[in-house]
């Protein structure tokens, strides 16, 4: 068949027969976005868990992110910017990771049969990553949209009121498990995928990474459950005054109130 090399189906073929560079870029981008999200998630967990120290500690963290200690005034818009960035990274990560999902019933059936037959840890863990990743499309999207639009509603009382009076705790509870499993498995897989922390004995390193992964997942799940419990308790006790903003006794004037 003689065909004009310049145009086939309207595609410019200047760099044919070179293979596309996009698979390499997408592979790298999938790992990079996953790494950023997983590390963000760990940082996030530490920040929200400051409620376990005290209301004042959590308040201080919140106000720090709103720039209160730098500008002398709280700008919740900063939080929206961070949320928008995370949302964009999440969308990109979901788009890239979706390429790996079973694309039709045949593939789905093949993989599930394979997983059930093999009884192979890392294969089964991948399936959990698919399920939790799928759940996070919806859970994380709901959470991030709320934070994007109401960045000022973060604080010991506003957060607790959202969790309890706003009935967000069921979503947070399911999302906690989905995110910790997905991120923990993902970080482990990043290590074996790229050969990080391989050391001289890759088999021994892999076993150690696997243990570390479970220890970290257990730690963050425990921390997350305690934190969620703390917000639920505060939210329950504060249910009659829901909507009230928390201000530490030592802060005058209230940074959320307009200056006179």
């Amino acid at each position: 068949m003689s065909s004009n090399q310049e145009t086939i189906a309207g595609v410019g073929l200047a760099d044919r027969p070179r293979k596309s560079r996009w698979p390499a870029r997408m592979d790298l981008a999938q790992s990079t976005t996953g790494l950023v999200l997983a590390l963000f998630m760990w940082g996030h967990m530490f920040f929200v868990s400051t409620i376990l120290i005290s209301k004042d500690a959590m308040w201080a963290v919140t106000k720090m992110f709103e720039g209160y200690f730098f500008f002398g005034k709280a700008y919740p818009g900063i939080v929206s910017l961070v949320v928008a960035t995370i949302l964009a990274i999440l969308v990109l990560h979901a788009f890239l990771a979706m390429r790996k999902f079973p694309a039709n019933y045949r593939q789905y059936r093949e993989f599930v049969a394979h997983k059930n037959l093999m009884h192979h840890g890392d294969t089964t863990l991948w399936w959990w990553q698919v399920l939790t990743g799928f759940a996070l499309f919806f859970l994380a999207a709901a959470h991030l949209y709320q934070m994007l639009m109401h960045p000022g509603d973060i604080g010991p009382y506003p957060s607790a009121d959202r969790v309890w009076t706003g009935s967000w705790w069921p979503l947070y509870l399911v999302m906690l498990f989905a995110v910790e499993l997905h991120g923990g498995i993902g970080l482990y897989r990043l290590c074996v995928k790229w050969g990080w922390l391989e050391g001289k004995d890759p088999a021994a390193s892999r076993a150690k990474l696997k243990t570390a992964k479970w220890v970290l997942t257990a730690f963050f799940l425990a921390l997350g459950l305690l934190t969620l419990g703390a917000y639920m308790k505060i939210g329950y006790e504060h249910r009659d005054r829901a909507g009230e903003v928390y201000t530490p006794a030592w802060v005058q004037p209230n940074p959320m109130e307009k200056a006179p």
Binding site: R21, P23, D27, R99, A103, Q107, D122, V192, E198
Partner: protein, 250 residues
């Protein structure tokens, strides 16, 4: 052995074997059970041979070397791909389930055509040394290779193309064009070989897509089932880094 030695209690093994002959028009896949008394040191090769000799001459399976070198006897043993000749029945419970390797063309019962798949992969990935010179001069002595490097090449060359890594791969099960660990290992092997003139740019053309190294999801089934214990995890990770470096260079 003395006459009054106490008779050893050998286990009764039950082999559940997936039977199907695609060449027979009216055949349907079914599981057939064979009972056999276990013998000391019995391998699946010995057991299957005994079944064929004593119980059912129609049972199809492949063996050549009986020593884990030829790669003919790969099959699913209790759900995992492995070489039957190197699998000792003592390491399994009394019920042993055998099925042909998936992905490959089924010849009949436990016999599959791995050769056809391997040849297709080899042609696609050009798994042979691409020499620099146009014509081979057989009178010239070949350039010596550093012994350490030769060892490295040999380590990867130990692959027997049994197909276990392909059958143990979630990606290969879902996507039939995926080249599998066997293919990626071969690219890693020729990449090491100083006689092969190909550069990373050339290798990117062969494995720089989702049928190649970027299709690998790092489930490591290949690494964990490889009967030759090839370092597939490290080799695929290495190849991925090199191909990403090549692909992001522009």
């Amino acid at each position: 052995m003395t006459m009054n030695a106490t008779p050893r209690n050998h286990r009764k093994l039950r082999f559940h074997i997936l039977r199907y002959n695609p060449a027979k028009a009216d055949d349907t896949p079914r599981v057939q059970v064979y009972e056999l008394e276990e013998a000391p040191g019995m391998t699946l090769f010995i057991a299957l041979t005994e079944i064929r000799e004593k119980l059912d001459p129609s049972l199809q399976f492949d063996f050549v070397c009986r020593a884990g070198i030829c790669g003919s006897c790969g099959m699913m043993i209790n759900g995992r791909p492995s070489l039957a000749c190197r699998s000792v029945t003592q390491s399994f419970p009394e019920d042993i389930w055998l099925a042909p390797l998936p992905v490959f063309e089924l010849i009949g019962d436990l016999s599959v055509n791995t050769g056809k798949w391997m040849r297709g992969m080899s042609e696609k990935l050009e798994t042979w040394v691409h020499l620099q010179q146009e014509k081979l001069d057989f009178t010239r002595i070949e350039k010596p290779m550093d012994p350490a490097l030769a060892e490295e090449v040999y380590e990867l060359d130990r692959c027997i193309e049994c197909g276990c890594c392909v059958a143990g791969c979630g990606t290969a099960r879902m996507r039939e064009d995926f080249v599998g660990a066997v293919g990626l290992n071969k690219i890693a092997r020729f990449r090491l070989d100083p006689r092969d003139a190909r550069t990373d740019e050339d290798f990117y053309e062969l494995v720089g897509d989702d049928n190649g190294v970027f299709g690998c999801m790092s489930l490591l089934g290949c690494h964990d089932v490889c009967p030759k214990q090839l370092p597939l995890q490290t080799q695929i990770a290495f190849l991925r880094r090199k191909m990403v470096a090549q692909g992001t260079k522009g």
